[in-house]
C-alpha cells in the first residue's frame, strides 16, 4: 500500500500529524478564539481532535500491519512505529558513563496504540458533548483551547518514546488539569481545588524526576528500549550498585554526629528505589493513597473535564506508566506488593466514602479513585493486561457515567438554578421519565462498573480479582541472585487470597453505591419540585431556554439569592438533552456494554491480551508464579469469577432493598444508629483534616518561621540596619555639601595642603619577603628618596651617605629576632627613620615538621 511507503516504521511522521492537530486547535482557539466566534471555535476544536482520531486509526492500522509482518513467533518482539523529531540534549550515565541521548522521539506500540485510540476517540466524543454543555459559557473559546491542549499533552505522554518526553506530557496534562479544574476561577473553592490538584501532582512529579535520575545513572538509558536492555543492572547486588537510603549519599558522620552513623549502611537495590520513586509519581497522577485527595476536589471543574481528564484519560497515566515500565517494576517483588497494597487500600477507602456521598459527581469521583485502585491492584499483581484492560473499559463506562451525570446536572440546573443543589441526588429522583436516553446509557454504564455479567466491567474486574488470587510475584533473577547468596523478599502466601477478599468487598461496595446513585437519580418521584420554584414566570431568559431544548446555563450565573417563597409551585419539568450530548452517551454506553468482548479471559477469547503480549513479554518472563501451578489456576478461573458475581448480586440486591423497597429508610436507621461511623465516612475519613493537621501545618509552621526570619533578620537587620548606617553617613556628609562655593574651596585647599604635607615628609615603609633563611627588606619609593640602612642590627648606621640602595638582605637565625633601621631622605632634604623588627623562621614548627618526617 502506498501509505506504508510514505510512512516507514522507523520514521513514522504521521505521529507528528496526530500530535500537531490538537496543538494547532489549542493555539488557534487560544489566540483568536474570542474573535472567531463560537461556531468557528466549535469547528476548530472538533475537527482537530476528530482528524487526530482518524490519523490515529490510520496509525493503528499501520501498526497492525507491522505487527502482522513480524509474525506470531514466540519471541517476535513488539512492533513499533517511531518518529524522531530532533535530538533534544544528551547526558551521561550508566555503568560505563556512556552517552544517554534525550531525544524528542515518539513511538506507537501495542500499548500506546490502544491508549492513543482511547484518548482521541473518547476525547472527540467529550469534545462533541462539551460543545453543547458549554454552549452558553462566556469562556467557550478558552475552554476548548485548554481541552485541545490537554489532548495534545496526553498524546505526548502516551506516545513519548522516553521518560523525559513522557514527563513533558505528564506536566502538560497536569497543567491543563489545573487550568480546567479552576476554569470558573472567580469562585475561590474552584481556584483552590485547582491549586490542590497541582500541588498534589507536584509531589508525585518529584518521585518521577528521581526515578529518571536513578534510571539514567543505573541503566544508562532513558528510552523504553534502552531501559529494557539495561534493566538487569538494576538488580545488581554489589555494594556500588545499591542505593544508600541511610546514610544519604554514603556520607560519613563523625564527631558529634557520630550517633547518626549506622553500623551497616541501609541499602536497597536500584530496582526497588526506581520502583518506589515511579510509584510516588503514579500515586500522584492516578489519585492513589496517599495523594488521592486532589481528585474529589477536582470535580469543581466543568463536567466534561471530569469525564475526560479526571476519569477516562489523565488519571490512568499512572497505570499506563506502570504498564510501560512493567519490566522495571517486576524486578522488585516488594514494590509490586506495595503497588497492589496501595491499589486495594485506595479501592476500599474510596468505595467506603462513596457509599454516603450525596453529590452525584462526588460519588463518581470516589468511584473513579476506587476503580483506579483496582487498576493498581491489577498491575501490582503482575496482571498488566488485566490492569490495562480495566483502564480501557473504565474509560468508556466512567466517561459515560460522568457525561450522564453532566446531562442530569444540566437538566437539574435549568430547574434548580443552584450549582450545589443541582448536583445533589436528594433533589433528583424519577428522572427516568424525563430523560430516557440519559437514563438508559447511565444504566448501561452502571451495569458495566458494578460487574453485571458479560458487560465490559465484568470481564476486566474479574480478571483482576482472579489474577490477584493466583499470581505470586517473584524476582525474575531469583535463581541467579540466590546463587550469589542474595535473598529477594517475596509476599507471603496469604497475600493473594487477602487481596482477592478485599477486592470482592470493594466490588460489593461499588455495586451498592452505584445502584444507590442510579436509584436516587432516576427512580421514584422527582424531588426537585420543592427545591427551586418555577422560574419561567419570573425570568424571561428561562422561558426562552425552556423552549429550545438543550439550553445550558452559564455556570457563572448566580441564582442562589432568589427568594424561595413558593416552594410547591410546579414548574418546568426536567428535559432530555440535545443530540450533541446524547450521541456521545449512546456511543460510550454501547462501548461500556460490549467492549468486554475484546478480552474475555473466562472464554479464552483474548484479542487484546494477545495484542499486548509483546509489550509485557519481558516483564512477565519469570516474574509471576501461578499459585498451585498453571492447571490449578486455570481450574480456579470460573470459581473465582463467582466472587465478582456474588459481589455484584449482593451489592445490587442490598441497594435495591434499601433504596427501592424501603425507600432509603434502613440507611437512615443505620446512620442514626452509628452516628460516629456515618460522620466519619461523610467527612471522607477526615484525611484532608489529617493532612491539614500534619503536613500542611508543618509546612505552614516552616513558612511562618521563614517569614519571621525574613521580617526580623533579612528586613530588620540586613536591610534596615544597613540602610540606617548608610543614611547616617549620608546625613553626616550632607553637612559638607552645603552648596556654598567658598566652603568647597576651603575643603579643596585643606585637602591640597594635606597632600602637600604628605609629599614634603618622607615615609620610611618596608616590605619584607622571606627567601629561606635570608629575608629581603625593600623600602617603598617616593619623590627623590634616598636611603641609608643599619642592616646588621648593631645600632649604628652602616653608610655615611644616603644612596639609592632601597633593598637589603638580612640573615636571621631561626627563633631569633633582629632590629634593623632605615633612614629616608627626600628631595626637600627632610629625613625620617624607622626601626624594623625581623623575626626568624618559626623554630618550633620546623622541629615538628622534622619530627613528623622522621616518623
Amino acid at each position: 500500500m502506498e501509505l506504508a511507503a510514505f510512512f516507514p516504521n522507523n520514521n513514522f511522521s504521521l505521529i507528528g500529524v496526530i500530535l500537531a492537530l490538537p496543538l494547532i486547535g489549542a493555539f488557534i482557539n487560544g489566540v483568536w478564539g474570542a474573535r472567531l466566534g463560537k461556531p468557528a471555535v466549535r469547528l476548530m476544536a472538533l475537527s482537530s481532535v476528530g482528524l487526530s482520531f482518524i490519523a490515529s486509526l490510520f496509525a493503528f492500522c499501520a501498526l497492525h500491519r507491522a505487527s502482522e509482518a513480524l509474525g506470531h513467533g514466540e519471541h517476535q518482539g513488539a512492533a513499533r512505529l517511531s518518529w524522531l523529531a530532533w535530538e533534544w540534549m544528551h547526558t551521561n550515565g550508566g555503568q560505563f558513563l556512556q552517552t544517554v541521548p534525550v531525544e524528542l522521539k515518539f513511538s506507537i506500540d501495542a500499548l500506546s496504540g490502544v491508549m492513543m485510540l482511547v484518548v482521541t476517540g473518547v476525547g472527540f466524543l467529550i469534545h462533541l458533548y462539551a460543545t453543547s454543555y458549554m454552549a452558553n459559557d462566556p469562556g467557550f473559546a478558552r475552554f476548548f483551547a485548554y481541552l485541545n491542549l490537554f489532548v495534545f499533552s496526553m498524546l505526548v505522554l502516551i506516545l513519548g518514546d522516553n521518560l523525559p518526553v513522557l514527563f513533558i506530557g505528564w506536566e502538560g496534562v497536569g497543567l491543563c488539569s489545573y487550568l480546567l479544574i479552576g476554569f470558573w476561577f472567580d469562585k475561590t473553592e474552584n481556584a483552590s481545588a485547582g491549586k490542590k490538584a497541582f500541588i498534589a501532582n507536584r509531589i508525585g512529579d518529584f518521585g518521577l524526576l528521581c526515578a529518571m535520575f536513578l534510571l539514567a545513572s543505573s541503566t544508562g538509558a532513558l528510552d523504553w528500549a534502552g531501559i529494557a536492555r539495561g534493566a538487569v543492572s538494576l538488580v545488581n547486588p554489589s555494594e556500588g550498585a545499591q542505593i544508600h537510603i541511610w546514610p544519604i549519599a554514603n556520607a560519613h558522620y563523625t564527631g558529634w554526629l557520630q550517633f547518626l552513623q549506622p553500623t551497616h549502611p541501609i541499602t536497597i537495590t536500584a530496582a526497588t528505589a526506581v520502583g518506589l520513586a515511579l510509584l510516588l509519581g503514579c500515586t500522584g497522577k492516578s489519585a492513589q493513597l496517599p495523594l488521592y485527595v486532589w481528585l474529589p476536589d477536582a470535580m469543581a471543574g466543568p463536567t466534561p473535564v471530569s469525564a475526560l481528564i479526571h476519569a477516562a484519560t489523565m488519571v490512568t497515566a499512572g497505570v499506563y506508566l506502570i504498564c510501560r515500565l512493567s519490566f522495571v517494576f517486576v524486578l522488585s517483588p516488594a514494590v509490586m506488593a506495595l503497588v497492589a497494597c496501595i491499589g486495594i487500600a485506595t479501592a476500599l477507602l474510596a468505595a467506603s466514602i462513596a457509599l454516603v456521598q450525596n453529590d452525584i459527581k462526588k460519588v463518581l469521583a470516589y468511584s473513579t479513585v476506587s476503580q483506579l485502585g483496582f487498576m493498581f491492584l491489577g498491575v501490582g499483581v503482575g496482571a498488566f493486561v488485566a490492569g490495562f484492560f480495566h483502564v480501557f473499559t473504565h474509560a468508556f463506562f466512567k466517561a459515560c457515567l460522568f457525561l450522564g451525570a453532566g446531562s442530569v446536572i444540566h437538566a437539574m440546573h435549568s430547574r434548580v438554578h443552584d450549582d450545589v443543589a443541582s448536583q445533589d441526588m436528594r433533589n433528583m429522583g424519577g428522572l427516568r421519565k424525563y430523560m430516557p436516553i440519559t437514563f438508559w446509557t447511565f444504566v448501561a454504564a452502571t451495569a458495566a462498573i458494578i460487574g453485571f455479567p458479560f458487560t465490559s466491567g465484568f470481564f476486566s474486574k474479574d480478571e483482576i480479582l482472579f489474577k490477584a488470587f493466583v499470581n505470586h510475584s517473584v524476582s525474575p533473577y531469583k535463581t541467579e541472585l540466590a546463587a550469589r547468596g542474595v535473598e529477594v523478599w517475596e509476599a507471603p502466601t496469604w497475600f493473594g487470597p487477602m487481596l482477592y477478599t478485599l477486592g470482592v468487598i470493594a466490588a460489593t461496595m461499588t455495586a451498592f453505591y452505584m445502584v444507590r446513585a442510579l436509584v436516587l437519580t432516576f427512580f421514584g418521584e422527582f424531588r426537585g419540585w420543592s427545591i427551586g420554584r418555577a422560574s419561567e414566570a419570573q425570568h424571561g431568559h428561562d422561558l426562552e431556554s425552556a423552549e429550545k431544548a438543550g439550553h445550558v446555563h452559564g455556570h457563572g450565573h448566580v441564582h442562589g439569592s432568589e427568594a424561595h417563597d413558593d416552594l410547591t409551585l410546579p414548574g418546568d419539568a426536567p428535559h432530555e438533552s440535545p443530540w450533541a450530548i446524547t450521541l456521545p452517551l449512546v456511543v460510550l454506553g454501547a462501548a461500556a456494554l460490549f467492549a468486554g468482548v475484546l478480552n474475555m479471559a473466562p472464554f479464552h477469547f483474548e484479542p487484546l491480551g494477545h495484542w499486548l503480549d509483546p509489550v509485557f513479554e519481558q516483564a512477565l518472563h519469570g516474574s509471576v508464579e501461578l499459585r498451585g501451578g498453571a492447571e490449578h489456576a486455570e481450574a480456579l478461573m470460573w470459581p473465582l469469577a463467582g466472587g465478582g458475581v456474588a459481589a455484584f448480586f449482593v451489592g445490587t440486591a442490598l441497594a435495591y432493598w434499601v433504596y427501592v423497597m424501603r425507600n432509603g429508610e434502613p440507611a437512615h436507621r443505620l446512620a442514626t444508629a452509628l452516628p460516629r461511623v456515618y460522620r466519619f465516612l461523610v467527612d471522607k475519613w477526615r484525611v484532608d483534616e489529617f493532612y491539614n493537621a500534619t503536613i500542611i501545618a508543618t509546612t505552614e509552621a516552616l513558612a511562618t518561621m521563614a517569614n519571621a526570619f525574613d521580617k526580623w533578620v533579612v528586613d530588620g537587620i540586613l536591610a534596615k540596619l544597613t540602610a540606617l548606617i548608610v543614611a547616617g553617613f549620608g546625613s553626616f556628609l550632607r553637612a559638607f555639601q552645603n552648596g556654598v562655593v567658598n566652603t568647597y574651596a576651603a575643603f579643596m585647599v585643606v585637602g591640597g595642603a594635606a597632600i602637600g604635607w604628605f609629599m614634603i615628609v618622607p615615609h620610611p615603609e618596608v616590605v619584607i619577603k622571606a627567601e629561606g633563611a635570608a629575608q629581603m627588606v625593600e623600602a617603598t619609593t617616593g619623590p627623590g628618596y634616598t636611603y641609608r640602612w643599619d642592616a646588621d642590627g648593631d645600632g649604628l648606621i652602616d653608610d655615611e651617605q644616603f644612596s639609592d640602595r632601597s633593598k637589603v638582605t638580612v640573615q636571621v637565625e631561626p627563633g631569633a629576632k633582629k632590629t634593623i633601621r632605615l633612614e629616608v631622605k627626600n628631595a626637600f632634604g627632610i629625613t625620617r627613620s624607622k626601626e624594623i623588627q625581623i623575626a626568624g623562621p618559626d623554630a618550633p614548627a620546623v622541629q615538628m615538621g622534622l619530627a613528623n618526617a622522621a616518623q
Binding site: 556654598v740 567658598n742 574651596a745 585647599v749
Partner: protein, 103 residues
Amino acid sequence: MSTMNLDHFVVLSAILFTIGSIGFLVRRNVIVTLMSIEIMLNAVNLALVAFNRAHPANYSGQIFTFFVIAAEAAEVAIGLAIVLAMFRLHRTIRTDDATLLKN
C-alpha cells in the same frame, strides 16, 4: 649680587601660590576669586619655567606652561561668562549669594 638660583624662584612661586589661595578663600567677589586663581596658576607656571631652567635637557616645563596658559584663557573666558550670567540673575557677584544648589 649673586645669580639667582632655583631656590629663589621656588620660594617666590610658593609665596605667590599662598597669596592666591588665601585670596581665593577669603574674598567674596567672584572677579577677585578669579584673579586669585590666576595668581595661583601663574605661581605654578613660574615654578615650571624655573625647574626647566635648572634642568634644561628638554623643554617640557616650558611647553607645559603654554598649556597651562591656554587652559587659563579658556577658564577665564568661561568664568567671566558665568560671572555675567550670575550678575544678570542676582544683580550681584558675591559668592555668598551663589547658593542656588544649596537646597
